[in-house]
Amino acid sequence: MKELIAKAAGLLESNTVQVVIGYGQGSADRSRAIFITQPSDCEQLIFDSRCIQNLAVYLTKAEIKKMGKPAIVASIPVLRSIVQLAAENQLTNDSLVVLGVSPESQLVEFESLAAIESYLESHKIEIDEKYRKIIEDIKAKPVAERFAYWVKELEPCFKCYACRAACPLCYCTRCTVENNQPQWISVGSHPLGNLEWHIMRAMHLAGRCTDCEACYTACPMSIPIHLLTKSMLQDVNENFGSYGSSISKPNSLSSFNPDDKESFIR
Protein backbone atom coordinates (compact mmCIF):
# COMPACT_ATOMS: atom_id res chain seq x y z
CA MET A 1 0.00 0.00 0.00
CA LYS A 2 2.91 2.35 0.83
CA GLU A 3 4.13 1.76 -2.70
CA LEU A 4 0.79 2.86 -4.14
CA ILE A 5 0.67 6.01 -1.99
CA ALA A 6 4.24 6.96 -2.91
CA LYS A 7 3.61 6.37 -6.59
CA ALA A 8 0.37 8.39 -6.55
CA ALA A 9 2.01 11.27 -4.68
CA GLY A 10 4.90 11.22 -7.14
CA LEU A 11 2.57 11.45 -10.10
CA LEU A 12 0.77 14.45 -8.60
CA GLU A 13 4.00 16.16 -7.58
CA SER A 14 5.51 15.86 -11.03
CA ASN A 15 2.18 17.03 -12.45
CA THR A 16 2.07 13.93 -14.68
CA VAL A 17 -1.54 13.65 -13.56
CA GLN A 18 -3.84 16.19 -11.96
CA VAL A 19 -6.13 13.83 -10.09
CA VAL A 20 -5.80 10.38 -8.54
CA ILE A 21 -8.93 8.25 -8.49
CA GLY A 22 -8.72 5.71 -5.70
CA TYR A 23 -10.41 4.23 -2.67
CA GLY A 24 -10.60 5.92 0.70
CA GLN A 25 -12.30 5.39 4.03
CA GLY A 26 -16.03 5.97 3.71
CA SER A 27 -18.74 6.30 6.31
CA ALA A 28 -19.22 3.43 8.77
CA ASP A 29 -16.98 0.56 7.70
CA ARG A 30 -17.26 1.12 3.99
CA SER A 31 -14.80 2.29 1.40
CA ARG A 32 -15.60 5.05 -1.04
CA ALA A 33 -14.16 6.55 -4.18
CA ILE A 34 -11.89 9.52 -3.52
CA PHE A 35 -10.43 12.04 -5.92
CA ILE A 36 -7.08 13.35 -4.78
CA THR A 37 -5.52 16.48 -6.21
CA GLN A 38 -2.86 17.22 -3.54
CA PRO A 39 0.19 14.96 -3.07
CA SER A 40 -0.14 15.23 0.72
CA ASP A 41 -3.67 13.77 0.58
CA CYS A 42 -2.41 10.54 -0.96
CA GLU A 43 -2.12 9.19 2.60
CA GLN A 44 -5.89 8.68 2.45
CA LEU A 45 -5.58 5.96 -0.19
CA ILE A 46 -6.57 2.49 0.95
CA PHE A 47 -6.92 -0.83 -0.77
CA ASP A 48 -8.52 -3.88 0.82
CA SER A 49 -11.33 -6.36 0.32
CA ARG A 50 -13.99 -3.65 0.73
CA CYS A 51 -12.75 -1.81 -2.34
CA ILE A 52 -15.02 -3.41 -4.90
CA GLN A 53 -16.52 -0.39 -6.62
CA ASN A 54 -15.53 -0.24 -10.27
CA LEU A 55 -13.65 3.07 -10.44
CA ALA A 56 -13.42 2.95 -14.24
CA VAL A 57 -16.93 4.43 -14.24
CA TYR A 58 -15.43 7.84 -13.41
CA LEU A 59 -13.08 7.91 -16.41
CA THR A 60 -15.85 8.92 -18.80
CA LYS A 61 -17.67 11.36 -16.50
CA ALA A 62 -17.50 14.98 -17.64
CA GLU A 63 -16.91 16.26 -14.08
CA ILE A 64 -13.83 14.07 -13.68
CA LYS A 65 -12.49 14.77 -17.16
CA LYS A 66 -12.59 18.46 -16.27
CA MET A 67 -10.17 17.85 -13.39
CA GLY A 68 -7.38 16.94 -15.82
CA LYS A 69 -5.47 13.77 -16.54
CA PRO A 70 -6.27 11.04 -14.03
CA ALA A 71 -4.35 8.22 -12.45
CA ILE A 72 -6.61 5.38 -11.42
CA VAL A 73 -6.26 2.60 -8.87
CA ALA A 74 -7.29 -0.47 -10.81
CA SER A 75 -7.93 -3.99 -9.62
CA ILE A 76 -8.60 -6.73 -12.16
CA PRO A 77 -12.26 -5.84 -12.88
CA VAL A 78 -11.31 -2.19 -13.32
CA LEU A 79 -8.47 -3.15 -15.68
CA ARG A 80 -10.95 -5.13 -17.78
CA SER A 81 -13.27 -2.13 -17.99
CA ILE A 82 -10.36 0.11 -18.97
CA VAL A 83 -9.43 -2.24 -21.82
CA GLN A 84 -13.05 -2.31 -22.99
CA LEU A 85 -13.25 1.49 -22.86
CA ALA A 86 -10.03 1.64 -24.88
CA ALA A 87 -11.50 -0.83 -27.37
CA GLU A 88 -14.39 1.57 -27.79
CA ASN A 89 -12.03 4.51 -28.37
CA GLN A 90 -12.93 6.16 -25.07
CA LEU A 91 -9.34 6.08 -23.76
CA THR A 92 -5.91 6.43 -25.28
CA ASN A 93 -2.45 5.72 -23.91
CA ASP A 94 -2.05 9.42 -23.10
CA SER A 95 -5.39 9.91 -21.40
CA LEU A 96 -4.62 8.21 -18.10
CA VAL A 97 -2.08 6.51 -15.83
CA VAL A 98 -3.11 3.12 -14.53
CA LEU A 99 -1.99 2.05 -11.07
CA GLY A 100 -2.79 -1.64 -11.31
CA VAL A 101 -3.35 -3.73 -8.21
CA SER A 102 -2.80 -7.46 -8.65
CA PRO A 103 -5.01 -10.03 -6.87
CA GLU A 104 -2.13 -10.31 -4.36
CA SER A 105 -2.50 -6.56 -3.68
CA GLN A 106 0.81 -5.76 -5.38
CA LEU A 107 1.23 -2.58 -7.39
CA VAL A 108 1.51 -3.31 -11.11
CA GLU A 109 2.52 -0.61 -13.55
CA PHE A 110 1.68 -0.58 -17.21
CA GLU A 111 3.47 1.11 -20.07
CA SER A 112 0.45 1.18 -22.32
CA LEU A 113 -3.13 0.03 -22.61
CA ALA A 114 -1.92 -2.84 -24.76
CA ALA A 115 0.24 -3.93 -21.82
CA ILE A 116 -2.90 -4.13 -19.66
CA GLU A 117 -4.48 -6.32 -22.27
CA SER A 118 -1.59 -8.75 -22.29
CA TYR A 119 -1.53 -8.72 -18.47
CA LEU A 120 -5.21 -9.73 -18.49
CA GLU A 121 -4.37 -12.72 -20.69
CA SER A 122 -3.49 -14.49 -17.46
CA HIS A 123 -6.62 -13.19 -15.71
CA LYS A 124 -9.33 -14.17 -18.12
CA ILE A 125 -13.04 -13.61 -17.44
CA GLU A 126 -14.66 -16.73 -16.18
CA ILE A 127 -18.27 -17.18 -15.19
CA ASP A 128 -18.39 -18.64 -11.73
CA GLU A 129 -19.64 -22.23 -11.49
CA LYS A 130 -22.24 -21.01 -9.01
CA TYR A 131 -23.72 -18.63 -11.56
CA ARG A 132 -23.55 -21.16 -14.38
CA LYS A 133 -25.67 -23.42 -12.22
CA ILE A 134 -28.22 -20.69 -11.40
CA ILE A 135 -28.57 -19.73 -15.07
CA GLU A 136 -28.93 -23.38 -16.06
CA ASP A 137 -31.59 -23.90 -13.41
CA ILE A 138 -33.59 -20.92 -14.64
CA LYS A 139 -33.32 -22.10 -18.23
CA ALA A 140 -34.53 -25.54 -17.19
CA LYS A 141 -37.88 -24.15 -16.05
CA PRO A 142 -40.86 -24.14 -18.42
CA VAL A 143 -41.14 -20.90 -20.37
CA ALA A 144 -44.17 -19.51 -18.49
CA GLU A 145 -42.55 -20.22 -15.13
CA ARG A 146 -39.35 -18.51 -16.24
CA PHE A 147 -41.33 -15.45 -17.28
CA ALA A 148 -43.19 -15.36 -13.97
CA TYR A 149 -39.86 -15.76 -12.15
CA TRP A 150 -38.37 -12.71 -13.85
CA VAL A 151 -41.47 -10.57 -13.53
CA LYS A 152 -41.31 -11.28 -9.82
CA GLU A 153 -37.54 -10.72 -9.57
CA LEU A 154 -37.83 -7.40 -11.37
CA GLU A 155 -40.82 -6.27 -9.34
CA PRO A 156 -38.81 -4.42 -6.64
CA CYS A 157 -37.09 -2.31 -9.32
CA PHE A 158 -38.08 1.33 -9.01
CA LYS A 159 -35.84 2.47 -11.84
CA CYS A 160 -33.31 4.42 -9.83
CA TYR A 161 -30.82 3.60 -12.61
CA ALA A 162 -28.07 2.88 -10.09
CA CYS A 163 -27.16 -0.09 -12.32
CA ARG A 164 -26.60 2.31 -15.18
CA ALA A 165 -24.74 4.87 -13.06
CA ALA A 166 -22.39 2.22 -11.66
CA CYS A 167 -21.59 0.61 -14.99
CA PRO A 168 -18.32 1.83 -16.54
CA LEU A 169 -19.66 0.97 -19.99
CA CYS A 170 -22.95 2.90 -19.69
CA TYR A 171 -21.31 6.15 -20.69
CA CYS A 172 -23.78 7.45 -23.29
CA THR A 173 -24.62 11.06 -22.55
CA ARG A 174 -28.20 10.41 -23.64
CA CYS A 175 -29.63 7.03 -22.75
CA THR A 176 -32.40 5.31 -24.71
CA VAL A 177 -34.44 5.25 -21.54
CA GLU A 178 -34.60 9.04 -21.47
CA ASN A 179 -35.65 9.17 -25.07
CA ASN A 180 -39.33 9.94 -25.56
CA GLN A 181 -39.48 10.43 -29.32
CA PRO A 182 -40.21 7.54 -29.60
CA GLN A 183 -40.83 6.32 -26.08
CA TRP A 184 -38.80 3.11 -26.23
CA ILE A 185 -39.13 2.18 -22.58
CA SER A 186 -42.43 2.53 -20.76
CA VAL A 187 -41.84 5.20 -18.17
CA GLY A 188 -43.30 3.69 -15.01
CA SER A 189 -41.60 1.08 -12.90
CA HIS A 190 -44.44 -1.36 -13.50
CA PRO A 191 -43.80 -4.88 -14.81
CA LEU A 192 -43.61 -3.83 -18.47
CA GLY A 193 -41.42 -0.79 -17.86
CA ASN A 194 -39.04 -2.80 -15.69
CA LEU A 195 -38.85 -5.66 -18.16
CA GLU A 196 -38.17 -3.35 -21.10
CA TRP A 197 -35.54 -1.42 -19.18
CA HIS A 198 -33.61 -4.50 -18.10
CA ILE A 199 -33.78 -6.13 -21.52
CA MET A 200 -32.51 -2.95 -23.11
CA ARG A 201 -29.74 -2.54 -20.56
CA ALA A 202 -28.57 -6.10 -21.05
CA MET A 203 -28.75 -5.93 -24.84
CA HIS A 204 -26.76 -2.71 -24.97
CA LEU A 205 -24.06 -4.44 -22.94
CA ALA A 206 -24.03 -7.58 -25.06
CA GLY A 207 -20.51 -8.36 -26.17
CA ARG A 208 -19.20 -5.44 -24.11
CA CYS A 209 -19.91 -6.36 -20.49
CA THR A 210 -16.77 -7.39 -18.64
CA ASP A 211 -18.60 -9.10 -15.79
CA CYS A 212 -17.53 -6.74 -13.01
CA GLU A 213 -20.94 -7.04 -11.28
CA ALA A 214 -20.99 -3.32 -10.50
CA CYS A 215 -24.67 -3.21 -11.55
CA TYR A 216 -25.64 -5.87 -9.06
CA THR A 217 -23.53 -4.39 -6.29
CA ALA A 218 -25.10 -0.99 -6.86
CA CYS A 219 -28.69 -2.26 -6.95
CA PRO A 220 -30.41 -1.16 -3.72
CA MET A 221 -32.95 -3.97 -4.11
CA SER A 222 -30.31 -6.64 -4.90
CA ILE A 223 -32.10 -7.68 -8.08
CA PRO A 224 -29.93 -10.32 -9.80
CA ILE A 225 -29.58 -8.33 -13.02
CA HIS A 226 -26.01 -9.55 -13.39
CA LEU A 227 -27.47 -12.93 -14.34
CA LEU A 228 -28.71 -11.37 -17.57
CA THR A 229 -25.32 -10.01 -18.55
CA LYS A 230 -23.55 -13.18 -17.40
CA SER A 231 -25.85 -15.30 -19.51
CA MET A 232 -25.25 -13.05 -22.51
CA LEU A 233 -21.53 -13.23 -21.92
CA GLN A 234 -21.80 -17.02 -22.10
CA ASP A 235 -23.88 -16.81 -25.27
CA VAL A 236 -21.47 -14.40 -26.93
CA ASN A 237 -18.54 -16.61 -26.02
CA GLU A 238 -20.21 -19.78 -27.25
CA ASN A 239 -21.41 -18.28 -30.52
CA PHE A 240 -18.70 -15.81 -31.42
CA GLY A 241 -15.82 -17.12 -29.36
CA SER A 242 -14.78 -13.99 -27.53
CA TYR A 243 -14.94 -13.55 -23.81
CA GLY A 244 -13.98 -10.08 -22.75
CA SER A 245 -12.52 -7.34 -24.79
CA SER A 246 -9.68 -6.64 -27.10
CA ILE A 247 -8.25 -3.30 -28.14
CA SER A 248 -7.33 -4.45 -31.63
CA LYS A 249 -10.62 -6.22 -32.37
CA PRO A 250 -14.08 -4.66 -32.61
CA ASN A 251 -16.78 -5.69 -30.16
CA SER A 252 -18.57 -8.93 -30.89
CA LEU A 253 -21.80 -7.21 -31.85
CA SER A 254 -20.09 -4.50 -33.87
CA SER A 255 -18.52 -7.13 -36.07
CA PHE A 256 -19.51 -10.36 -37.73
CA ASN A 257 -18.28 -13.52 -39.30
CA PRO A 258 -19.95 -14.55 -42.57
CA ASP A 259 -19.96 -18.09 -41.19
CA ASP A 260 -21.75 -17.35 -37.91
CA LYS A 261 -23.86 -20.38 -37.04
CA GLU A 262 -27.43 -20.48 -35.80
CA SER A 263 -30.24 -22.99 -36.09
CA PHE A 264 -33.39 -20.90 -35.89
CA ILE A 265 -33.43 -18.82 -39.09
CA ARG A 266 -35.48 -20.39 -41.86
Binding site: I135, I138, K139, K141, V143, A144, E145, R146, F147, A148, Y149, W150, V151, T176, W184, I185, S186, G188, H190, P191, L192, L195, E196, I199, M200, A202, M203, A206, G207, L227, L228, S231, M232, D235, V236, N239, F240, S252, L253, S254, S255, F256, N257, P258, D260, E262, F264, I265, R266
Partner: protein, 148 residues
Amino acid sequence: MNEFEPKIVAFVCNWCTYAGADLTGTSRIKYAQNVKIIRFPCTGRIDFMLLLKAFSEGADGIIVSGCHPNDCHYTSGNFHARRRWITFRGLLDLLGIDVRRIQYSWVSAAEGAKWADIVNTTVTNISELGPYADYAKVANYLEKEANL
Protein backbone atom coordinates in the same frame (compact mmCIF):
# COMPACT_ATOMS: atom_id res chain seq x y z
CA MET B 1 -66.93 -18.87 -29.93
CA ASN B 2 -64.78 -17.28 -32.58
CA GLU B 3 -61.69 -19.12 -33.56
CA PHE B 4 -58.46 -17.44 -32.47
CA GLU B 5 -56.91 -15.36 -35.22
CA PRO B 6 -53.31 -14.57 -34.27
CA LYS B 7 -51.97 -11.07 -34.81
CA ILE B 8 -48.59 -11.28 -36.52
CA VAL B 9 -46.25 -8.38 -37.13
CA ALA B 10 -43.59 -8.81 -39.80
CA PHE B 11 -40.44 -6.69 -39.78
CA VAL B 12 -38.91 -7.03 -43.21
CA CYS B 13 -36.12 -5.46 -45.19
CA ASN B 14 -36.94 -3.30 -48.17
CA TRP B 15 -34.65 -4.99 -50.65
CA CYS B 16 -35.38 -8.68 -50.32
CA THR B 17 -38.31 -9.79 -48.21
CA TYR B 18 -40.52 -6.79 -48.96
CA ALA B 19 -39.95 -7.32 -52.66
CA GLY B 20 -40.45 -11.04 -52.10
CA ALA B 21 -43.78 -10.42 -50.40
CA ASP B 22 -44.69 -8.18 -53.31
CA LEU B 23 -43.91 -11.06 -55.65
CA THR B 24 -46.19 -13.32 -53.62
CA GLY B 25 -49.00 -10.91 -54.40
CA THR B 26 -48.20 -10.40 -58.09
CA SER B 27 -47.91 -14.19 -58.42
CA ARG B 28 -51.46 -14.41 -57.05
CA ILE B 29 -50.40 -16.72 -54.24
CA LYS B 30 -52.92 -16.62 -51.43
CA TYR B 31 -51.64 -16.64 -47.86
CA ALA B 32 -52.90 -15.97 -44.36
CA GLN B 33 -54.09 -12.42 -43.78
CA ASN B 34 -52.97 -12.17 -40.17
CA VAL B 35 -49.71 -10.48 -40.95
CA LYS B 36 -48.99 -6.75 -40.82
CA ILE B 37 -45.85 -5.98 -42.75
CA ILE B 38 -43.55 -3.17 -41.64
CA ARG B 39 -40.85 -2.21 -44.10
CA PHE B 40 -37.32 -1.34 -43.00
CA PRO B 41 -34.32 -0.27 -45.00
CA CYS B 42 -32.35 -3.29 -43.79
CA THR B 43 -32.49 -6.06 -41.20
CA GLY B 44 -29.57 -4.27 -39.57
CA ARG B 45 -32.00 -1.46 -38.80
CA ILE B 46 -34.48 -3.71 -36.97
CA ASP B 47 -33.87 -2.70 -33.37
CA PHE B 48 -34.65 -5.40 -30.81
CA MET B 49 -36.82 -2.88 -28.98
CA LEU B 50 -39.23 -2.92 -31.95
CA LEU B 51 -39.90 -6.58 -31.29
CA LEU B 52 -40.70 -5.87 -27.66
CA LYS B 53 -42.95 -3.00 -28.73
CA ALA B 54 -44.85 -5.35 -31.04
CA PHE B 55 -45.47 -7.76 -28.17
CA SER B 56 -46.50 -5.01 -25.78
CA GLU B 57 -48.92 -3.64 -28.39
CA GLY B 58 -50.61 -7.00 -28.58
CA ALA B 59 -48.82 -9.05 -31.24
CA ASP B 60 -49.08 -12.81 -30.75
CA GLY B 61 -46.24 -13.57 -33.10
CA ILE B 62 -43.47 -11.80 -34.97
CA ILE B 63 -41.71 -12.48 -38.24
CA VAL B 64 -38.32 -10.91 -38.88
CA SER B 65 -37.03 -11.39 -42.36
CA GLY B 66 -34.45 -10.03 -44.75
CA CYS B 67 -31.89 -10.82 -47.42
CA HIS B 68 -30.00 -14.09 -47.38
CA PRO B 69 -26.43 -13.90 -46.04
CA ASN B 70 -24.10 -12.43 -48.69
CA ASP B 71 -27.06 -10.79 -50.44
CA CYS B 72 -27.45 -7.69 -48.27
CA HIS B 73 -28.02 -4.51 -50.24
CA TYR B 74 -25.66 -2.81 -47.80
CA THR B 75 -23.19 -5.70 -47.87
CA SER B 76 -23.20 -6.57 -44.18
CA GLY B 77 -26.42 -5.39 -42.50
CA ASN B 78 -27.85 -8.87 -42.24
CA PHE B 79 -24.61 -10.28 -40.81
CA HIS B 80 -24.79 -7.74 -38.01
CA ALA B 81 -28.49 -8.48 -37.59
CA ARG B 82 -27.79 -12.20 -37.31
CA ARG B 83 -25.38 -11.69 -34.42
CA ARG B 84 -27.93 -9.45 -32.73
CA TRP B 85 -30.68 -12.03 -33.18
CA ILE B 86 -28.52 -14.80 -31.77
CA THR B 87 -27.76 -12.85 -28.58
CA PHE B 88 -31.26 -11.42 -28.28
CA ARG B 89 -32.81 -14.85 -28.62
CA GLY B 90 -30.60 -16.14 -25.82
CA LEU B 91 -31.63 -13.27 -23.57
CA LEU B 92 -35.34 -13.69 -24.30
CA ASP B 93 -35.05 -17.39 -23.68
CA LEU B 94 -33.51 -16.78 -20.26
CA LEU B 95 -36.24 -14.26 -19.44
CA GLY B 96 -39.00 -16.66 -20.39
CA ILE B 97 -40.26 -14.66 -23.34
CA ASP B 98 -41.49 -17.28 -25.77
CA VAL B 99 -38.90 -17.44 -28.57
CA ARG B 100 -41.19 -19.77 -30.54
CA ARG B 101 -43.29 -16.70 -31.24
CA ILE B 102 -40.51 -15.00 -33.19
CA GLN B 103 -39.81 -16.48 -36.61
CA TYR B 104 -36.62 -15.36 -38.28
CA SER B 105 -36.12 -16.05 -41.96
CA TRP B 106 -34.21 -15.14 -45.08
CA VAL B 107 -36.55 -14.46 -47.97
CA SER B 108 -35.11 -13.10 -51.20
CA ALA B 109 -36.93 -10.94 -53.74
CA ALA B 110 -37.42 -14.06 -55.89
CA GLU B 111 -38.91 -16.21 -53.13
CA GLY B 112 -42.57 -15.22 -53.23
CA ALA B 113 -43.64 -18.77 -52.52
CA LYS B 114 -41.29 -19.06 -49.56
CA TRP B 115 -42.80 -15.89 -48.04
CA ALA B 116 -46.30 -17.35 -48.30
CA ASP B 117 -45.01 -20.52 -46.68
CA ILE B 118 -43.28 -18.62 -43.85
CA VAL B 119 -46.43 -16.64 -43.08
CA ASN B 120 -48.69 -19.68 -43.26
CA THR B 121 -46.54 -21.87 -41.03
CA THR B 122 -46.05 -19.01 -38.55
CA VAL B 123 -49.81 -18.47 -38.37
CA THR B 124 -50.33 -22.20 -37.83
CA ASN B 125 -47.66 -22.33 -35.11
CA ILE B 126 -48.96 -19.25 -33.31
CA SER B 127 -52.54 -20.50 -33.57
CA GLU B 128 -51.41 -23.63 -31.74
CA LEU B 129 -49.62 -21.57 -29.08
CA GLY B 130 -52.68 -19.37 -28.61
CA PRO B 131 -52.81 -15.67 -27.68
CA TYR B 132 -49.70 -14.33 -25.95
CA ALA B 133 -51.55 -13.88 -22.68
CA ASP B 134 -48.45 -13.87 -20.47
CA TYR B 135 -46.97 -10.82 -22.12
CA ALA B 136 -50.35 -9.11 -22.49
CA LYS B 137 -50.85 -9.45 -18.75
CA VAL B 138 -47.62 -7.58 -18.14
CA ALA B 139 -48.24 -5.05 -20.92
CA ASN B 140 -51.77 -4.26 -19.75
CA TYR B 141 -50.83 -4.04 -16.09
CA LEU B 142 -51.76 -0.37 -15.79
CA GLU B 143 -55.14 -0.73 -17.51
CA LYS B 144 -56.03 -3.49 -15.11
CA GLU B 145 -55.00 -1.35 -12.16
CA ALA B 146 -57.25 1.44 -13.42
CA ASN B 147 -60.20 -0.92 -13.70
CA LEU B 148 -59.96 -2.10 -10.11
